[in-house]
Symmetry: C2
Subunit: 321 residues, 2 copies
Protein backbone atom coordinates (compact mmCIF):
# COMPACT_ATOMS: atom_id res chain seq x y z
CA UNK A 1 0.00 0.00 0.00
CA UNK A 2 1.31 3.40 -0.91
CA UNK A 3 1.89 6.16 1.60
CA UNK A 4 -0.66 8.96 2.00
CA UNK A 5 -0.15 11.58 -0.71
CA UNK A 6 1.52 14.75 0.50
CA UNK A 7 2.68 18.11 -0.87
CA UNK A 8 5.25 20.52 0.57
CA UNK A 9 6.01 24.05 -0.61
CA UNK A 10 8.38 26.93 0.12
CA UNK A 11 8.22 30.63 -0.60
CA UNK A 12 11.82 31.62 -0.07
CA UNK A 13 14.27 31.84 2.82
CA UNK A 14 16.27 34.57 4.44
CA UNK A 15 16.77 36.69 7.49
CA UNK A 16 13.14 37.06 8.44
CA UNK A 17 13.62 39.29 11.44
CA UNK A 18 10.72 39.01 13.82
CA UNK A 19 10.80 42.73 14.55
CA UNK A 20 10.13 43.47 10.87
CA UNK A 21 7.03 41.33 10.96
CA UNK A 22 3.74 41.77 12.71
CA UNK A 23 0.68 39.60 13.25
CA UNK A 24 -1.08 40.94 10.18
CA UNK A 25 1.91 40.40 7.88
CA UNK A 26 2.55 36.94 9.27
CA UNK A 27 -1.10 36.10 8.86
CA UNK A 28 -1.03 36.98 5.18
CA UNK A 29 1.88 34.60 4.58
CA UNK A 30 0.26 31.79 6.55
CA UNK A 31 -3.00 32.27 4.68
CA UNK A 32 -1.32 32.28 1.27
CA UNK A 33 0.72 29.17 2.07
CA UNK A 34 -2.35 27.37 3.44
CA UNK A 35 -4.50 28.16 0.41
CA UNK A 36 -1.83 27.01 -2.00
CA UNK A 37 -1.19 23.81 -0.04
CA UNK A 38 -4.92 23.12 0.01
CA UNK A 39 -5.09 23.49 -3.77
CA UNK A 40 -2.27 21.00 -4.19
CA UNK A 41 -3.80 18.65 -1.64
CA UNK A 42 -7.10 18.64 -3.56
CA UNK A 43 -5.35 17.55 -6.73
CA UNK A 44 -3.67 14.71 -4.88
CA UNK A 45 -6.88 13.74 -3.07
CA UNK A 46 -8.66 13.48 -6.42
CA UNK A 47 -6.03 11.04 -7.63
CA UNK A 48 -4.07 13.65 -9.55
CA UNK A 49 -0.38 13.22 -10.22
CA UNK A 50 2.43 14.66 -8.14
CA UNK A 51 3.55 16.41 -11.33
CA UNK A 52 0.20 18.18 -11.66
CA UNK A 53 0.13 19.07 -7.97
CA UNK A 54 3.56 20.72 -7.92
CA UNK A 55 2.92 22.53 -11.19
CA UNK A 56 -0.34 23.99 -9.87
CA UNK A 57 1.15 24.90 -6.49
CA UNK A 58 4.02 26.76 -8.13
CA UNK A 59 1.63 28.45 -10.56
CA UNK A 60 -0.31 29.79 -7.57
CA UNK A 61 2.91 30.87 -5.85
CA UNK A 62 3.81 32.73 -9.06
CA UNK A 63 0.45 34.50 -8.95
CA UNK A 64 0.86 35.59 -5.33
CA UNK A 65 2.66 38.95 -5.05
CA UNK A 66 4.07 38.04 -1.63
CA UNK A 67 6.58 35.71 -3.24
CA UNK A 68 9.48 36.36 -5.62
CA UNK A 69 8.23 34.54 -8.73
CA UNK A 70 5.84 35.51 -11.49
CA UNK A 71 3.76 38.51 -10.38
CA UNK A 72 5.86 39.91 -7.55
CA UNK A 73 9.21 38.99 -9.06
CA UNK A 74 12.18 41.20 -8.23
CA UNK A 75 13.80 43.69 -10.61
CA UNK A 76 17.11 43.23 -12.45
CA UNK A 77 19.78 45.92 -12.55
CA UNK A 78 18.26 46.96 -15.87
CA UNK A 79 14.88 47.50 -14.22
CA UNK A 80 13.41 44.47 -15.97
CA UNK A 81 12.15 41.10 -14.79
CA UNK A 82 13.82 37.85 -15.84
CA UNK A 83 12.12 34.70 -14.70
CA UNK A 84 13.35 31.10 -14.36
CA UNK A 85 11.50 27.86 -13.66
CA UNK A 86 11.93 24.10 -13.75
CA UNK A 87 9.97 20.92 -13.16
CA UNK A 88 10.95 17.24 -12.92
CA UNK A 89 8.96 14.00 -12.95
CA UNK A 90 10.37 11.37 -10.62
CA UNK A 91 8.59 8.54 -12.44
CA UNK A 92 10.40 9.10 -15.73
CA UNK A 93 13.28 11.42 -14.83
CA UNK A 94 11.89 13.72 -17.52
CA UNK A 95 12.45 17.40 -16.90
CA UNK A 96 11.67 20.83 -18.32
CA UNK A 97 13.11 24.26 -17.64
CA UNK A 98 13.13 27.83 -18.91
CA UNK A 99 15.50 30.63 -17.99
CA UNK A 100 15.51 34.37 -18.57
CA UNK A 101 11.94 34.76 -19.83
CA UNK A 102 10.39 38.22 -19.59
CA UNK A 103 6.85 37.87 -20.91
CA UNK A 104 5.66 34.39 -19.91
CA UNK A 105 2.96 34.85 -17.27
CA UNK A 106 3.61 31.50 -15.62
CA UNK A 107 7.18 30.34 -16.15
CA UNK A 108 6.43 27.02 -14.44
CA UNK A 109 3.83 26.24 -17.11
CA UNK A 110 6.46 26.85 -19.78
CA UNK A 111 8.83 24.50 -17.98
CA UNK A 112 6.05 21.93 -17.72
CA UNK A 113 5.30 22.23 -21.43
CA UNK A 114 8.98 21.66 -22.21
CA UNK A 115 8.76 18.46 -20.15
CA UNK A 116 5.50 17.38 -21.80
CA UNK A 117 6.10 18.03 -25.47
CA UNK A 118 9.74 18.87 -26.22
CA UNK A 119 12.68 16.60 -26.92
CA UNK A 120 14.73 19.20 -25.10
CA UNK A 121 15.02 19.89 -21.37
CA UNK A 122 15.85 23.60 -21.29
CA UNK A 123 15.19 26.73 -23.30
CA UNK A 124 16.52 30.20 -22.57
CA UNK A 125 15.65 33.83 -23.33
CA UNK A 126 13.99 34.63 -26.67
CA UNK A 127 13.95 30.98 -27.71
CA UNK A 128 12.12 30.07 -24.51
CA UNK A 129 9.53 32.78 -25.15
CA UNK A 130 9.08 31.62 -28.72
CA UNK A 131 8.53 28.08 -27.46
CA UNK A 132 5.97 29.28 -24.90
CA UNK A 133 4.17 31.35 -27.52
CA UNK A 134 4.08 28.46 -29.98
CA UNK A 135 2.58 26.33 -27.22
CA UNK A 136 -0.21 28.83 -26.70
CA UNK A 137 0.87 29.82 -23.20
CA UNK A 138 -0.20 33.20 -21.91
CA UNK A 139 2.22 36.03 -22.59
CA UNK A 140 1.93 39.32 -20.74
CA UNK A 141 3.37 42.78 -21.00
CA UNK A 142 6.45 42.93 -18.76
CA UNK A 143 4.62 45.49 -16.62
CA UNK A 144 2.47 42.60 -15.36
CA UNK A 145 5.35 41.55 -13.11
CA UNK A 146 5.59 45.01 -11.53
CA UNK A 147 4.68 45.38 -7.88
CA UNK A 148 5.22 48.58 -5.91
CA UNK A 149 6.99 46.80 -3.04
CA UNK A 150 9.52 45.18 -5.40
CA UNK A 151 10.06 48.48 -7.20
CA UNK A 152 10.83 50.24 -3.93
CA UNK A 153 13.19 47.39 -3.04
CA UNK A 154 14.97 47.79 -6.36
CA UNK A 155 15.27 51.58 -6.07
CA UNK A 156 16.85 51.07 -2.67
CA UNK A 157 19.22 48.37 -3.94
CA UNK A 158 20.33 50.60 -6.82
CA UNK A 159 21.38 53.16 -4.23
CA UNK A 160 23.76 50.63 -2.72
CA UNK A 161 26.64 48.93 -4.43
CA UNK A 162 25.34 45.40 -4.20
CA UNK A 163 22.52 43.18 -5.22
CA UNK A 164 19.73 42.26 -2.85
CA UNK A 165 19.49 38.51 -2.62
CA UNK A 166 16.58 38.53 -0.31
CA UNK A 167 13.02 37.56 -0.36
CA UNK A 168 12.22 39.27 2.88
CA UNK A 169 13.71 42.55 1.78
CA UNK A 170 10.25 43.28 0.45
CA UNK A 171 8.83 42.89 3.89
CA UNK A 172 11.43 45.20 5.29
CA UNK A 173 10.83 47.89 2.74
CA UNK A 174 7.11 47.55 2.81
CA UNK A 175 6.95 47.80 6.56
CA UNK A 176 10.01 49.57 7.85
CA UNK A 177 13.26 51.10 6.74
CA UNK A 178 15.91 48.74 8.01
CA UNK A 179 19.19 48.92 6.12
CA UNK A 180 19.74 46.37 3.42
CA UNK A 181 21.89 43.43 4.33
CA UNK A 182 22.72 42.02 0.91
CA UNK A 183 24.20 38.85 2.36
CA UNK A 184 21.04 37.71 4.05
CA UNK A 185 18.34 37.93 1.43
CA UNK A 186 17.00 35.66 -1.31
CA UNK A 187 13.83 34.18 -2.62
CA UNK A 188 12.45 31.43 -4.78
CA UNK A 189 9.29 29.36 -4.67
CA UNK A 190 8.90 25.63 -5.05
CA UNK A 191 6.91 22.51 -4.41
CA UNK A 192 7.44 18.75 -4.05
CA UNK A 193 4.82 16.04 -3.88
CA UNK A 194 4.11 12.33 -3.54
CA UNK A 195 0.95 11.07 -5.23
CA UNK A 196 -1.34 8.08 -4.65
CA UNK A 197 0.57 6.03 -7.21
CA UNK A 198 3.84 6.48 -5.35
CA UNK A 199 5.27 8.95 -7.86
CA UNK A 200 7.32 11.99 -6.91
CA UNK A 201 7.71 15.38 -8.59
CA UNK A 202 9.35 18.76 -7.95
CA UNK A 203 8.97 22.28 -9.35
CA UNK A 204 10.81 25.55 -8.70
CA UNK A 205 10.34 29.14 -9.95
CA UNK A 206 11.99 32.48 -9.26
CA UNK A 207 12.47 36.08 -10.24
CA UNK A 208 16.09 35.80 -9.18
CA UNK A 209 17.81 38.39 -7.03
CA UNK A 210 17.05 42.10 -6.81
CA UNK A 211 19.29 44.27 -8.96
CA UNK A 212 20.96 41.18 -10.47
CA UNK A 213 22.94 41.66 -13.66
CA UNK A 214 20.87 40.96 -16.75
CA UNK A 215 21.23 37.38 -17.92
CA UNK A 216 22.21 35.91 -14.55
CA UNK A 217 20.89 32.37 -14.15
CA UNK A 218 20.56 30.98 -10.65
CA UNK A 219 19.83 27.48 -9.43
CA UNK A 220 16.04 27.56 -9.87
CA UNK A 221 15.94 26.45 -13.55
CA UNK A 222 18.88 24.06 -13.26
CA UNK A 223 17.99 20.39 -12.89
CA UNK A 224 19.95 18.93 -9.98
CA UNK A 225 20.69 22.33 -8.45
CA UNK A 226 17.30 23.89 -7.68
CA UNK A 227 14.99 21.02 -8.63
CA UNK A 228 15.22 17.23 -8.74
CA UNK A 229 12.86 14.27 -8.55
CA UNK A 230 13.39 10.51 -8.70
CA UNK A 231 10.85 7.95 -7.52
CA UNK A 232 13.73 5.79 -6.26
CA UNK A 233 14.89 8.45 -3.81
CA UNK A 234 13.18 11.81 -3.34
CA UNK A 235 11.86 15.06 -4.80
CA UNK A 236 13.60 18.31 -3.85
CA UNK A 237 13.04 22.05 -4.43
CA UNK A 238 15.56 24.54 -3.07
CA UNK A 239 15.82 28.24 -2.22
CA UNK A 240 18.88 30.24 -1.26
CA UNK A 241 22.09 31.73 -2.54
CA UNK A 242 21.69 30.12 -5.94
CA UNK A 243 25.32 30.10 -6.96
CA UNK A 244 26.31 27.87 -4.05
CA UNK A 245 23.39 25.55 -4.72
CA UNK A 246 24.63 25.19 -8.31
CA UNK A 247 28.20 24.44 -7.24
CA UNK A 248 26.96 21.84 -4.71
CA UNK A 249 24.27 20.33 -7.00
CA UNK A 250 22.18 20.74 -3.87
CA UNK A 251 18.93 19.12 -5.03
CA UNK A 252 20.54 16.10 -6.67
CA UNK A 253 22.99 15.66 -3.82
CA UNK A 254 20.13 14.83 -1.44
CA UNK A 255 19.12 12.05 -3.83
CA UNK A 256 22.70 10.88 -4.36
CA UNK A 257 23.34 10.58 -0.62
CA UNK A 258 20.16 8.52 -0.25
CA UNK A 259 21.01 6.29 -3.21
CA UNK A 260 24.74 5.85 -2.71
CA UNK A 261 25.22 6.30 1.05
CA UNK A 262 21.93 4.73 2.07
CA UNK A 263 21.00 7.78 4.15
CA UNK A 264 17.42 8.60 5.11
CA UNK A 265 15.79 11.62 3.49
CA UNK A 266 16.18 13.53 6.73
CA UNK A 267 19.88 12.76 7.13
CA UNK A 268 20.69 13.43 3.47
CA UNK A 269 18.85 16.76 3.42
CA UNK A 270 20.43 17.75 6.73
CA UNK A 271 23.91 17.03 5.41
CA UNK A 272 23.36 19.15 2.30
CA UNK A 273 21.76 22.12 4.06
CA UNK A 274 23.68 22.11 7.34
CA UNK A 275 27.13 20.83 6.29
CA UNK A 276 27.85 20.93 2.56
CA UNK A 277 26.27 24.27 1.67
CA UNK A 278 27.72 26.15 4.67
CA UNK A 279 31.17 24.87 3.63
CA UNK A 280 31.01 27.34 0.72
CA UNK A 281 28.85 29.87 2.58
CA UNK A 282 25.68 28.65 0.92
CA UNK A 283 22.59 29.92 2.72
CA UNK A 284 18.99 28.86 2.31
CA UNK A 285 16.98 25.70 2.51
CA UNK A 286 14.87 23.15 0.70
CA UNK A 287 11.69 21.13 0.86
CA UNK A 288 11.82 17.41 0.06
CA UNK A 289 9.65 14.31 0.15
CA UNK A 290 10.43 10.63 -0.33
CA UNK A 291 8.34 7.71 -1.59
CA UNK A 292 7.36 6.74 1.98
CA UNK A 293 5.79 10.16 2.46
CA UNK A 294 8.50 11.53 4.73
CA UNK A 295 8.71 15.32 4.44
CA UNK A 296 11.63 17.52 5.48
CA UNK A 297 11.94 21.32 5.29
CA UNK A 298 15.46 22.17 6.53
CA UNK A 299 17.04 25.63 6.23
CA UNK A 300 20.13 27.31 7.63
CA UNK A 301 18.73 30.85 7.70
CA UNK A 302 16.55 32.66 10.22
CA UNK A 303 13.41 31.60 8.47
CA UNK A 304 11.81 30.02 5.43
CA UNK A 305 8.21 30.41 4.27
CA UNK A 306 7.09 26.81 4.14
CA UNK A 307 4.42 24.24 4.76
CA UNK A 308 3.10 20.80 3.90
CA UNK A 309 -0.25 19.08 3.63
CA UNK A 310 -1.08 15.39 3.79
CA UNK A 311 -4.31 14.38 2.10
CA UNK A 312 -7.05 14.40 4.69
CA UNK A 313 -5.11 16.47 7.22
CA UNK A 314 -5.09 20.26 7.66
CA UNK A 315 -2.03 21.99 6.15
CA UNK A 316 0.85 22.95 8.42
CA UNK A 317 2.65 26.25 7.71
CA UNK A 318 5.61 27.98 9.34
CA UNK A 319 7.95 30.94 8.88
CA UNK A 320 10.59 30.96 11.62
CA UNK A 321 12.79 28.22 13.02
CA UNK B 1 54.40 13.53 -3.79
CA UNK B 2 51.76 14.49 -6.28
CA UNK B 3 50.97 12.45 -9.37
CA UNK B 4 52.37 13.48 -12.75
CA UNK B 5 50.22 16.24 -14.27
CA UNK B 6 47.97 15.07 -17.06
CA UNK B 7 45.36 16.50 -19.44
CA UNK B 8 42.61 14.68 -21.35
CA UNK B 9 40.35 16.10 -24.05
CA UNK B 10 37.43 15.08 -26.23
CA UNK B 11 36.06 16.45 -29.47
CA UNK B 12 32.63 14.85 -29.51
CA UNK B 13 31.18 11.36 -29.87
CA UNK B 14 28.89 9.63 -32.30
CA UNK B 15 28.55 6.99 -34.95
CA UNK B 16 31.94 7.46 -36.54
CA UNK B 17 31.58 4.91 -39.31
CA UNK B 18 34.94 3.75 -40.54
CA UNK B 19 33.74 3.67 -44.13
CA UNK B 20 33.01 7.41 -43.97
CA UNK B 21 36.56 8.10 -42.90
CA UNK B 22 39.82 7.76 -44.71
CA UNK B 23 43.43 7.98 -43.70
CA UNK B 24 43.69 11.65 -44.57
CA UNK B 25 40.58 12.60 -42.59
CA UNK B 26 41.62 10.51 -39.63
CA UNK B 27 45.06 12.02 -39.75
CA UNK B 28 43.66 15.53 -39.51
CA UNK B 29 41.75 14.65 -36.35
CA UNK B 30 44.73 12.93 -34.76
CA UNK B 31 46.95 15.89 -35.59
CA UNK B 32 44.49 18.41 -34.16
CA UNK B 33 44.00 16.42 -30.96
CA UNK B 34 47.76 15.93 -30.56
CA UNK B 35 48.55 19.62 -31.02
CA UNK B 36 45.91 20.69 -28.54
CA UNK B 37 47.01 18.11 -25.98
CA UNK B 38 50.60 19.27 -26.40
CA UNK B 39 49.58 22.87 -25.72
CA UNK B 40 47.82 21.82 -22.52
CA UNK B 41 50.73 19.61 -21.52
CA UNK B 42 53.16 22.54 -21.89
CA UNK B 43 51.09 24.65 -19.51
CA UNK B 44 51.11 21.85 -16.95
CA UNK B 45 54.83 21.17 -17.45
CA UNK B 46 55.56 24.84 -16.76
CA UNK B 47 53.74 24.60 -13.44
CA UNK B 48 50.53 26.11 -14.77
CA UNK B 49 47.20 25.33 -13.18
CA UNK B 50 44.76 22.66 -14.30
CA UNK B 51 42.26 25.49 -14.71
CA UNK B 52 44.53 27.30 -17.16
CA UNK B 53 45.31 24.09 -19.04
CA UNK B 54 41.68 23.11 -19.62
CA UNK B 55 40.70 26.67 -20.54
CA UNK B 56 43.46 26.87 -23.16
CA UNK B 57 42.75 23.38 -24.53
CA UNK B 58 39.07 24.18 -24.99
CA UNK B 59 39.93 27.56 -26.51
CA UNK B 60 42.02 25.73 -29.11
CA UNK B 61 39.24 23.20 -29.70
CA UNK B 62 36.88 26.15 -30.26
CA UNK B 63 39.29 27.56 -32.85
CA UNK B 64 39.53 24.27 -34.74
CA UNK B 65 36.82 23.96 -37.42
CA UNK B 66 36.83 20.16 -37.16
CA UNK B 67 34.97 20.34 -33.85
CA UNK B 68 31.49 21.61 -32.98
CA UNK B 69 32.39 24.59 -30.79
CA UNK B 70 33.41 28.15 -31.58
CA UNK B 71 34.52 28.38 -35.22
CA UNK B 72 32.94 25.27 -36.71
CA UNK B 73 29.83 25.30 -34.52
CA UNK B 74 26.64 23.87 -35.94
CA UNK B 75 23.65 25.92 -37.13
CA UNK B 76 20.35 26.34 -35.27
CA UNK B 77 16.98 25.96 -36.98
CA UNK B 78 17.04 29.74 -37.43
CA UNK B 79 20.33 29.52 -39.33
CA UNK B 80 22.22 31.12 -36.45
CA UNK B 81 24.87 29.90 -34.02
CA UNK B 82 24.25 29.71 -30.28
CA UNK B 83 27.21 28.72 -28.18
CA UNK B 84 27.47 27.35 -24.64
CA UNK B 85 30.48 26.80 -22.37
CA UNK B 86 31.40 26.08 -18.77
CA UNK B 87 34.44 25.68 -16.56
CA UNK B 88 34.93 24.47 -12.98
CA UNK B 89 37.84 24.64 -10.55
CA UNK B 90 38.17 21.53 -8.38
CA UNK B 91 40.25 23.35 -5.78
CA UNK B 92 37.52 25.84 -4.85
CA UNK B 93 34.37 24.38 -6.45
CA UNK B 94 34.06 27.75 -8.19
CA UNK B 95 32.43 27.62 -11.59
CA UNK B 96 31.52 29.79 -14.55
CA UNK B 97 29.21 29.27 -17.50
CA UNK B 98 27.57 31.03 -20.41
CA UNK B 99 24.72 29.83 -22.59
CA UNK B 100 23.23 31.00 -25.85
CA UNK B 101 25.92 33.50 -26.86
CA UNK B 102 26.13 34.43 -30.53
CA UNK B 103 29.06 36.84 -30.82
CA UNK B 104 31.63 35.74 -28.24
CA UNK B 105 34.61 34.36 -30.15
CA UNK B 106 35.67 32.04 -27.35
CA UNK B 107 32.75 31.05 -25.14
CA UNK B 108 35.08 29.17 -22.79
CA UNK B 109 36.93 32.40 -22.04
CA UNK B 110 33.63 34.05 -21.12
CA UNK B 111 32.85 31.13 -18.81
CA UNK B 112 36.31 31.45 -17.29
CA UNK B 113 35.84 35.17 -16.73
CA UNK B 114 32.54 34.48 -14.97
CA UNK B 115 34.44 32.11 -12.68
CA UNK B 116 37.27 34.58 -12.12
CA UNK B 117 35.48 37.87 -11.52
CA UNK B 118 31.74 37.40 -11.06
CA UNK B 119 29.72 36.59 -7.96
CA UNK B 120 27.47 34.65 -10.30
CA UNK B 121 28.01 31.25 -11.90
CA UNK B 122 25.99 31.51 -15.09
CA UNK B 123 24.90 34.13 -17.61
CA UNK B 124 22.69 33.61 -20.62
CA UNK B 125 21.96 35.23 -23.99
CA UNK B 126 22.23 39.04 -24.24
CA UNK B 127 23.28 39.37 -20.60
CA UNK B 128 26.11 36.92 -21.17
CA UNK B 129 27.28 38.90 -24.20
CA UNK B 130 27.10 42.16 -22.26
CA UNK B 131 29.20 40.58 -19.52
CA UNK B 132 31.78 39.34 -22.05
CA UNK B 133 31.91 42.74 -23.73
CA UNK B 134 32.33 44.54 -20.40
CA UNK B 135 35.20 42.16 -19.62
CA UNK B 136 36.95 43.10 -22.86
CA UNK B 137 36.60 39.68 -24.45
CA UNK B 138 36.73 39.45 -28.21
CA UNK B 139 33.36 39.70 -29.95
CA UNK B 140 32.97 38.69 -33.57
CA UNK B 141 30.38 39.01 -36.27
CA UNK B 142 28.20 35.88 -36.17
CA UNK B 143 29.53 35.02 -39.64
CA UNK B 144 32.82 34.12 -37.94
CA UNK B 145 31.27 30.85 -36.80
CA UNK B 146 30.26 29.91 -40.36
CA UNK B 147 31.94 26.93 -41.98
CA UNK B 148 30.87 25.49 -45.30
CA UNK B 149 30.72 21.93 -43.99
CA UNK B 150 28.38 22.90 -41.13
CA UNK B 151 26.25 24.91 -43.50
CA UNK B 152 25.84 21.95 -45.82
CA UNK B 153 25.00 19.80 -42.80
CA UNK B 154 22.33 22.29 -41.75
CA UNK B 155 20.80 22.57 -45.23
CA UNK B 156 20.52 18.80 -45.27
CA UNK B 157 19.00 18.66 -41.77
CA UNK B 158 16.41 21.30 -42.70
CA UNK B 159 15.28 19.01 -45.47
CA UNK B 160 14.49 16.33 -42.92
CA UNK B 161 12.06 16.59 -40.06
CA UNK B 162 14.54 16.19 -37.27
CA UNK B 163 17.56 17.74 -35.74
CA UNK B 164 21.05 16.41 -36.32
CA UNK B 165 22.69 15.65 -33.03
CA UNK B 166 25.91 14.63 -34.55
CA UNK B 167 29.41 15.79 -34.59
CA UNK B 168 30.43 13.36 -37.25
CA UNK B 169 27.62 14.35 -39.55
CA UNK B 170 30.05 16.93 -40.83
CA UNK B 171 32.43 14.21 -41.81
CA UNK B 172 29.69 12.36 -43.57
CA UNK B 173 28.51 15.34 -45.52
CA UNK B 174 31.94 16.58 -46.26
CA UNK B 175 33.08 13.25 -47.56
CA UNK B 176 30.08 11.27 -48.71
CA UNK B 177 26.32 11.34 -48.92
CA UNK B 178 25.17 8.84 -46.36
CA UNK B 179 21.62 9.40 -45.09
CA UNK B 180 21.26 11.30 -41.86
CA UNK B 181 20.65 9.23 -38.79
CA UNK B 182 19.49 11.84 -36.29
CA UNK B 183 19.71 9.44 -33.37
CA UNK B 184 23.40 8.80 -33.72
CA UNK B 185 25.00 12.23 -33.93
CA UNK B 186 26.25 14.82 -31.49
CA UNK B 187 29.21 16.92 -30.61
CA UNK B 188 30.83 18.93 -27.87
CA UNK B 189 34.42 19.59 -26.88
CA UNK B 190 35.98 19.44 -23.46
CA UNK B 191 39.03 19.00 -21.30
CA UNK B 192 39.98 17.82 -17.83
CA UNK B 193 43.35 18.14 -16.11
CA UNK B 194 45.38 17.43 -12.99
CA UNK B 195 48.18 19.90 -12.22
CA UNK B 196 51.45 19.67 -10.28
CA UNK B 197 49.74 20.98 -7.14
CA UNK B 198 47.19 18.18 -7.18
CA UNK B 199 44.34 20.41 -8.35
CA UNK B 200 41.71 19.32 -10.84
CA UNK B 201 39.68 21.33 -13.38
CA UNK B 202 37.21 20.75 -16.21
CA UNK B 203 35.90 22.77 -19.15
CA UNK B 204 33.28 22.08 -21.82
CA UNK B 205 32.08 24.02 -24.90
CA UNK B 206 29.63 23.38 -27.71
CA UNK B 207 27.65 24.74 -30.60
CA UNK B 208 24.82 22.42 -29.65
CA UNK B 209 22.95 20.29 -32.14
CA UNK B 210 22.37 20.98 -35.82
CA UNK B 211 18.99 22.55 -36.59
CA UNK B 212 18.19 22.81 -32.88
CA UNK B 213 15.35 25.12 -31.86
CA UNK B 214 16.60 28.57 -30.92
CA UNK B 215 17.23 28.90 -27.20
CA UNK B 216 17.80 25.20 -26.54
CA UNK B 217 20.35 24.70 -23.77
CA UNK B 218 22.11 21.35 -23.56
CA UNK B 219 24.35 19.89 -20.90
CA UNK B 220 27.57 21.65 -21.88
CA UNK B 221 27.04 24.88 -19.86
CA UNK B 222 25.35 23.15 -16.93
CA UNK B 223 27.54 22.48 -13.91
CA UNK B 224 27.11 18.85 -12.85
CA UNK B 225 25.67 17.78 -16.19
CA UNK B 226 28.36 18.56 -18.78
CA UNK B 227 31.17 19.74 -16.52
CA UNK B 228 32.29 19.11 -12.95
CA UNK B 229 35.50 19.26 -10.93
CA UNK B 230 36.30 18.56 -7.30
CA UNK B 231 39.82 17.93 -5.97
CA UNK B 232 38.37 15.37 -3.55
CA UNK B 233 37.07 13.17 -6.35
CA UNK B 234 37.53 13.93 -10.04
CA UNK B 235 37.15 16.30 -12.99
CA UNK B 236 34.71 15.37 -15.76
CA UNK B 237 33.72 16.75 -19.18
CA UNK B 238 30.97 15.05 -21.15
CA UNK B 239 29.66 14.81 -24.72
CA UNK B 240 26.51 13.19 -25.99
CA UNK B 241 22.74 13.47 -26.11
CA UNK B 242 22.72 16.46 -23.78
CA UNK B 243 19.19 16.12 -22.45
CA UNK B 244 19.90 12.71 -20.96
CA UNK B 245 23.16 13.96 -19.45
CA UNK B 246 21.18 16.76 -17.76
CA UNK B 247 18.57 14.38 -16.38
CA UNK B 248 21.29 12.05 -15.05
CA UNK B 249 23.58 14.83 -13.76
CA UNK B 250 26.18 12.77 -15.59
CA UNK B 251 29.34 14.72 -14.69
CA UNK B 252 28.52 15.13 -11.01
CA UNK B 253 27.28 11.57 -10.73
CA UNK B 254 30.79 10.25 -11.42
CA UNK B 255 32.00 12.32 -8.48
CA UNK B 256 29.07 11.32 -6.26
CA UNK B 257 29.65 7.62 -6.87
CA UNK B 258 33.33 8.05 -5.95
CA UNK B 259 32.54 10.07 -2.82
CA UNK B 260 29.50 8.22 -1.54
CA UNK B 261 29.95 4.67 -2.88
CA UNK B 262 33.73 4.64 -2.65
CA UNK B 263 34.06 3.58 -6.28
CA UNK B 264 37.23 4.10 -8.29
CA UNK B 265 37.17 6.71 -11.06
CA UNK B 266 37.05 3.92 -13.60
CA UNK B 267 34.12 2.11 -12.00
CA UNK B 268 32.14 5.30 -11.36
CA UNK B 269 32.59 6.57 -14.91
CA UNK B 270 31.76 3.14 -16.31
CA UNK B 271 28.53 2.99 -14.32
CA UNK B 272 27.42 6.41 -15.55
CA UNK B 273 28.29 5.87 -19.22
CA UNK B 274 27.48 2.19 -19.59
CA UNK B 275 24.56 1.71 -17.16
CA UNK B 276 22.83 4.89 -16.00
CA UNK B 277 22.82 6.85 -19.26
CA UNK B 278 21.70 3.89 -21.42
CA UNK B 279 18.78 3.41 -19.01
CA UNK B 280 17.24 6.58 -20.51
CA UNK B 281 18.79 6.06 -23.95
CA UNK B 282 21.58 8.49 -23.25
CA UNK B 283 24.39 8.16 -25.76
CA UNK B 284 27.87 9.64 -25.68
CA UNK B 285 30.86 9.61 -23.39
CA UNK B 286 33.13 11.59 -21.14
CA UNK B 287 36.73 12.22 -20.20
CA UNK B 288 37.71 12.26 -16.53
CA UNK B 289 40.76 12.42 -14.31
CA UNK B 290 41.23 11.94 -10.56
CA UNK B 291 43.78 13.33 -8.12
CA UNK B 292 46.00 10.24 -8.50
CA UNK B 293 46.32 10.95 -12.21
CA UNK B 294 44.05 8.14 -13.36
CA UNK B 295 42.46 8.98 -16.69
CA UNK B 296 39.35 7.37 -18.20
CA UNK B 297 37.68 8.10 -21.54
CA UNK B 298 34.59 5.86 -21.71
CA UNK B 299 31.85 6.16 -24.35
CA UNK B 300 28.89 4.07 -25.43
CA UNK B 301 28.91 5.13 -29.08
CA UNK B 302 30.91 3.89 -32.07
CA UNK B 303 33.60 6.44 -31.46
CA UNK B 304 34.75 9.52 -29.61
CA UNK B 305 37.48 11.93 -30.64
CA UNK B 306 39.72 11.83 -27.60
CA UNK B 307 43.19 11.77 -26.15
CA UNK B 308 45.37 12.43 -23.14
CA UNK B 309 48.87 13.59 -22.41
CA UNK B 310 50.97 13.09 -19.29
CA UNK B 311 53.73 15.62 -18.78
CA UNK B 312 56.90 14.22 -20.28
CA UNK B 313 55.15 11.59 -22.36
CA UNK B 314 53.89 11.81 -25.95
CA UNK B 315 50.13 12.42 -26.28
CA UNK B 316 47.88 9.45 -27.00
CA UNK B 317 44.91 10.04 -29.33
CA UNK B 318 42.09 7.80 -30.55
CA UNK B 319 38.83 7.90 -32.50
CA UNK B 320 37.24 4.45 -32.54
CA UNK B 321 36.65 1.89 -29.82
Amino acid sequence: MNATPVIAIHGGAGTLLRHAMNAETEGRYHTALTEILSAGERILADGGSALDAVTEAVRLLEDCPLFNAGHGAVFTAAGTHELDASVMDGATLEAGAVSCVTRVKHPVLAARRVLDVSDHVMFTAAGAEAFAAAQGLELVDPSYFYTEARHQQWLKARGTSGTMLDHDAMTKFAFDNDPIDPDKKFGTVGAVALDANGHLAAATSTGGITNKQAGRVGDAPLIGAGCYANDATCAVSTTGTGEMFIRMLAAYDVSAQMEYRGLSLEDAAHDVVMTKLPRIEGRGGLVAVDAKGNVVLPFNTEGMYRGYARVGVAPVTAIYR
